[in-house]
């Protein structure tokens, strides 16, 4: 399996107000056509913020997910999410939550036919800081795969 740091075109790097997660600039991912590969999407959670991990501690919490869109010639496999860090916060001195902070890498398994494939994925997250939470957000992620 090929492991490729993928990133696409620069996007969302400058977080707008209340954009708590940015997708770091990415170059096109070069993969071998017809062979399984991994595409990495690098996220940055704004300083002082946290988002729930993919496997939150409680079922009422909204997990971080990335969902690639279906695209001709691209076969998406499972997404590998990093483990969350167990942390407590000012509002939960005794209870710990599984969260992401800082830089986070999501690994998307993909097999692509030969050619250039411009596609998208949707990142869904729900962020909080030490005193408040913010509504869940869907952030579009542009992906460019070049398979030869």
């Amino acid at each position: 399996m090929l492991l490729l740091a993928m990133p696409t075109m620069p996007q969302n790097f400058m977080a707008a107000p209340h954009e708590f997660v940015s997708v770091l600039p990415m170059d096109p991912a070069h993969v071998v056509a017809g062979r399984p590969a991994v595409v990495e999407v690098h996220l940055r959670v704004a300083n002082g913020m946290h988002v729930n991990s993919h496997t939150p501690s409680e079922d009422y919490l909204i997990p971080t997910t990335i969902t690639p869109a279906a695209a001709a010639g691209v076969q998406w496999g499972a997404v590998e999410y990093p483990a969350g860090e167990m942390r407590n916060f000012a509002f939960s001195a005794t209870e710990k939550f599984s969260v992401y902070t800082g830089d986070v890498t999501l690994r998307l398994r993909v097999t692509a036919r030969a050619g250039e494939h411009a596609t998208t994925a949707t990142l869904r997250y729900q962020a909080c800081d030490n005193r408040a939470c913010y509504p869940p957000k869907n952030l579009p992620v542009q992906l460019m795969i070049v398979a030869k």
Binding site: H18, Y60, I62, F89, C128, A132, C133, Y134, P135, P136
Partner: protein
Amino acid sequence: MKRNILVAGIVIVALAVIGWAGVENYHQRQVAQQKQQELESQRVELVPVGPRSTDATTADAAKGDASMGPEMVNKAAPEFNLATPDGGKLSLTALRKQHKALMVNFWATWCVPCKVEMPWLVELEKQYAPQGLEIVGVSEDDPPDAADKVKKYTAKVGAGYPMVLDDGSAVKSFDVQDFPTSFYISADGKVVAQSVGLVGRDEIEANMRKALGGK
């Protein structure tokens, strides 16, 4: 004769020195005054960051906090007419007709800080309901299962006060971006206090008293 000329000369020199000193002193005072005026014109008033909870007297100080959004304090509370988890409808007008004062609490089941304060609200609602206060929770949970989530959680914590499910209109008209956010509405329909984010129980209680007309 020579002595008189010498004395006169000394006197003239002395007078000249005194005169020069006076002019120099006047000049230095003018320069100092000008510098003071320049400093005054450049002076920046440093004010403390506004508190999370604002009332009519502190609203201006809180405007420096970008996360607060436009202040609702001293303004008429926006109307809403939203679905309840049981399928009914509930409006702010209807609540105001039945109660002297209201606390409108924006929350969601995915919001842990909101859940920290909810048991306090349950207690305070029991304490102040006899004086005419009612709490209404405005849930920001998304459909289609918002009603089920709200009913399940409020039953768990024993929150018996009214709940409505926001369709996006209330959060917009109240300009809420942070959760929890609460508005305290007095008998005349005006917002008398607003709190953004998790604040202490005492602060919530103080705001409730204010809405009831206390200080």
